[in-house]
Structure formats: structure tokens, C-alpha cells
Symmetry: C2
Subunit: 323 residues, 2 copies
């Protein structure tokens, strides 16, 4: 029995909770070109290892952050999938607000090079004397490459199939450290200074020269968690190698299958196609969104996708997914 007020049990309990929630995905906007009462233009927040990353930034994204109590000051990185307005009309407003909130640290924007050309004149006009740098990292959406990396995660682009150059993003935790078996560490009297090497897989040599293999001292590391964002895109099996086995796939589903002709024309996907991709990529979980404004509710998207891939959820504004 766990008493939350008990200091001895509280620490491991918190540890378990964190471990179960390596990634938190928050939907700020689940809509597409035309915002509706239900669905803002595209934007999501990935929260992992105490860092916030924004994917896409349609108009009104900063307002959604306020409504949903997302701490805007913690945001350092914005990834823009492509330059259609519903994915980037909120960029200037967001940066302007960061400025008004007193930001001084760099803000990074990963996007097709044209975004900088379009946004700079606006920043120069509306945000004169910015106290921080806005650093644009130019993406080439035609190739897959690692565009961001830190101690705990990396972000790789996924070339998508759309009317303008577009890429998705694969967020992946780096391989984690193995867990020390405290009983064995005590038994072999492993000094503290050796612990880090052993967590990284090293064997241990005792004072007597005995080599203790790593797997006697440790338990396997937790698996690395991954999340893939694929929007906007027509149905394309070329993305399968990038997203295979991910813990969570966000795939656009702008239309229902009855409008698959319209989906093909506009280079979007249907809910059925998103689910077929999820099956073929053997992902653990599918979240669908980027719904066309023509649909007044999204239940049919869910049932259509679930008919093919059961573990599907709707990316509605304000929803949070943990994995």
C-alpha cells in the first residue's frame, strides 16, 4: 500500500509516474485550413524530459496556449512542417508575445527557408529591439535528417507527400542507461565513481581482479519512447521505414473515406488511410487530426479508423496524450 505522504514511498512512486509519461502530447489545434468552433488551426506541444517543443503554429496558437495553461516561457523550439498558412500564421504573434513576456534566451525555428524570408520583415517591423535571438534552421523537406539533438532526445525529419515541400518529425528518446541492481552493487562493493560507467554498460573489476559482467550488476534500460508527426500528407508508404514501431503516431486525417477523391486531389489522407499506415508501420497507438471544417463532429473519423486500427484516438483541441 502506498501512502503518498510517506517520504520513503513517495520518491519511487513519483519515479514510476514519470517513467510512464516520457512524452506528453498536447493538442492545441486539430483543425485544418478553416478554423471552426471546435478546432483551431494546426499546433501541438510535445513535452518530454522537462522540455517543450512546438510542432506547427497556426493562427491563434498562442491564445490556445493561454486557454490550456501551457507555460509559453518554457518553449524554446518550434518545428514547422510546411508553409501553408494554417501551419504557420501564428509564428509572428508567438514570437511577439515571447518578447512581451521578457524573454532573453534564444528561440529556435526549424522550417523551410522561405519562412525566414517571410517572417523577418514582420519581426523587424513589429518586434523592434527583440531582447533575444530568433534562430531559423532551414529544413530541406525532401531528405530525412536529424535537425535537433540534446542529451535525451533527437528529432528527425520525415519527407511527406503534399502540395508544397513538407516534412513530418520523429521525436525519439536516446538509448537510456541500464538500472543498477542495488543488491548486487552492495555485494560487490561497487564504488560510487564506477556507477555511471556501469549504467552505460561497462563490466566491473573488483579489488581482487574479478571481472563482474555488466548484466549481473544491472537490469535492462527502459525502452526509448518515440513519437512521429505526419501532417500534411497524402497516403504514402514511403514514410513506413521512419515510423515503424513508434509508440505514438499522429497522422493527418483531413477527410473521411467517402471523400477519398477529394483527399487525393488536395494531397491529404482519409481516416481509413491513416489507420492503414498505422497497421503497416506496426505503431502502438494512432492519433488522428487535421480535420476538414466540413465535418461538424469527428465521431465518424474515429469509427472509420478503428475499423482498421483499434488503438486510435482523436486529436481534439485541448486533449493530452501520455506515452
Amino acid at each position: 500500500m502506498i501512502h503518498l505522504g510517506d517520504a520513503k514511498t513517495c520518491v519511487p512512486f513519483c519515479f514510476i509516474m514519470r517513467d510512464m509519461e516520457n512524452f506528453k502530447l498536447r493538442i492545441l489545434g486539430s483543425g485544418s485550413a478553416l478554423p471552426t468552433k471546435m478546432s483551431n488551426q494546426a499546433s501541438q506541444i510535445v513535452e518530454t524530459h522537462d522540455k517543450l517543443f512546438m510542432i506547427d503554429c497556426g493562427e491563434g496558437t498562442q491564445c490556445q496556449m493561454r486557454r490550456l495553461n501551457v507555460r509559453i516561457s518554457r518553449l524554446n523550439h518550434l518545428f514547422v512542417s510546411h508553409l501553408h498558412g494554417d501551419h504557420c500564421f501564428g509564428v509572428v504573434g508567438l514570437i511577439s508575445t515571447l518578447d512581451l513576456l521578457g524573454r532573453t534566451s534564444d528561440f529556435h525555428v526549424y522550417a523551410h527557408k522561405d519562412l525566414e524570408r517571410l517572417v523577418r520583415p514582420q519581426l523587424d517591423y513589429f518586434c523592434q529591439g527583440l531582447a533575444f535571438n530568433v534562430i531559423f534552421h532551414h529544413i530541406d523537406p525532401k531528405v530525412s535528417e536529424v535537425i535537433y539533438e540534446d542529451n535525451s532526445i533527437e528529432v528527425r525529419t520525415i519527407p511527406l507527400k503534399h502540395k508544397v515541400p513538407t516534412c513530418g518529425f520523429l521525436f525519439k528518446e536516446k538509448p537510456k542507461q541500464r538500472h543498477i541492481r542495488r543488491d548486487m552493487a552492495d555485494f560487490y562493493k561497487v564504488p560510487i565513481r564506477e556507477m555511471q560507467h556501469i549504467k552505460n554498460g561497462a563490466d566491473f573489476v573488483t579489488e581482487d581482479g574479478e571481472v563482474v559482467p555488466n548484466d549481473r550488476l544491472t537490469k535492462p534500460a527502459d525502452p526509448s519512447v518515440s513519437f512521429a508527426y505526419c501532417s500534411d500528407t497524402a497516403y504514402s508508404e514511403k514514410i513506413l521505414p521512419y515510423i515503424e514501431g513508434v509508440d505514438c503516431l499522429f497522422h493527418e486525417a483531413t477527410f473521411l473515406d467517402v471523400q477519398k477523391g477529394r483527399a487525393r486531389e488536395t494531397m491529404h489522407s482519409t481516416a481509413l488511410q491513416a489507420a492503414e499506415i498505422a497497421v503497416k508501420a506496426k505503431v502502438k497507438r494512432l492519433v488522428i487530426g487535421h480535420f476538414s471544417a466540413r465535418y461538424e463532429d469527428h465521431k465518424a473519423f474515429l469509427s472509420e479508423a478503428r475499423s482498421v486500427f483499434e488503438n486510435t484516438e482523436l486529436a481534439e483541441d485541448g486533449r493530452v496524450f501520455r506515452f
Copy 2:
């Protein structure tokens, strides 16, 4: 007793309703630079004589129109007071949406000339092949001039006092026609073809050559209704001649009086100052807004302004004022 289903009484009843509501002012955004949960960035819709006019267009304005069921396709004219982001970051998104909705008729934007320079490259990139013209009318905010006119209303700029060139807008109905006294028209056997002249003030000459003075045949015209929008501005008595006696004045009240030093620095007004302007201009009604994000609720704005000018209301998002 009026039966709404009774055709005889329904017509005059509708007439009275329309007459009481020459102007409908709908607040889309009552906030200032930083949007909050309660307050979107600045935007209002003036509806009069079956036409919609937008004043200012902060980020998320088109989303607010959706939420508040404003028919976006009926909008033909946008007036932008000044080029701070919270008054114009929604312009490109709004035009993009008009395009997606299939618009073909001209859309008019009245703003400082720099807006066109900033917005055109975005329209060229994001809205290629627009099926309608976006016509920018360049305002010189330093002088007062009539910038829009049709059969029923005119819109005049009001130079304001702010950090960048800024003007307010005075919407004023044109003088209306006098009302024919049906009993007298029957008595003097006025032919239908003369009615229009008489409504416009002409006397009537009978077949016998008798001159019937206009005021025997008519009752006075309804007064012309007027609305003034003054935001953003420091306290300035120079605006009084433009707004004197208006039926409704929207005046910004970014701060409370305890922050009047901050108001002065940023060239904004306090609720008290807005009310003082209302008193001095002898306006009939005051609506205050453009609240700073630092205030969690706006009750203190209302009590502060009402202590000086009783007929004050808060311009909160979604509110509609009729006059």
C-alpha cells in the same frame, strides 16, 4: 397588444426594432498586446444598414468570428487603427479564409500604408491566385478625413495620440429622410411621385397652386446615429471635437488609475481617463476595453469608469451593444 403573428402589427413592430438598433457593435477581442483566456486581441464588428465593418484584426479574429457566428462572407471592409501586432496580426489569416470560402468580390482594407508593404508578400506566397482583389486604402493617421462613404453612412478618421501613427474611426449615419404624415398626405392628395422630394424636405404645391410647407406634411427625421472607436490612445482632449455627442464611444482603458504612470509611458489610457473623455464629449454611452493582461477580471475598470460616467459598459469578448 402586439401579436407577433399578426401581419398588420408585425410590420411596424419590425420597423421599430430596426429603428432602435441602427448600429450593432460586436466585440471580438477586448484584450491588448498579450491575449488572455478572457480577452482576444483587438477586433470589433460594426453592423449597420445590413453591412458589416471590421475594426482592427488581432490574431485569432477569424476564429472569434466562427465562435460568435459572425458571417465572415458578409464582411467587405476592414479598418485598421495602427500597426501594432495586436491590431493586425489576423489580417493575412482572415483574407486567406475569405479566399477558401470562395469569395470573388473586392475586399477593402483601410490602414497605414506600411500594412500593404507587410501583407502583400504574405498574400502572394500563401494565397496564390486569389479570386478577388484586396484593395488597400492608405490612411494618413495625422489628419481627419472621410475614408469611406455610401448611401447610409460615412467613416471619418480621428487622429489619436500613441507610440506609432494611430487613428480612431467615427461611423456616422447620413442625415435621414423626414417621415411623411399619412393623414396630411391624404388630405392634400400628394401623388406618389412627389413623396421622395417631400421626404427630402421639399414643400408641396397643390393643383390649385397652394404651397403646403414641408413641416405640415412631415415629421422630423430620426436622428443620425454615430459611433466612435478610439484605440489605442493616451488621454487626449484633442479628440473631443470629433466625438462630441456620439451615441456610443468605444475608448481604450488599458490600465486602472493606479497604473496611470504606466499608461502615460506606454501612451495608453486608464478607465478613469476614458470616462473623463466621455463626460467632456457629452457622449451618450461609453464602452471601454483593450484591457491589459495583468488584470484577471475587469470589474474594477467598470466601477472606476462609472464613478465618473455612469453609462459605461465593458467591451468583453462576445458582447453585443445596440444603439
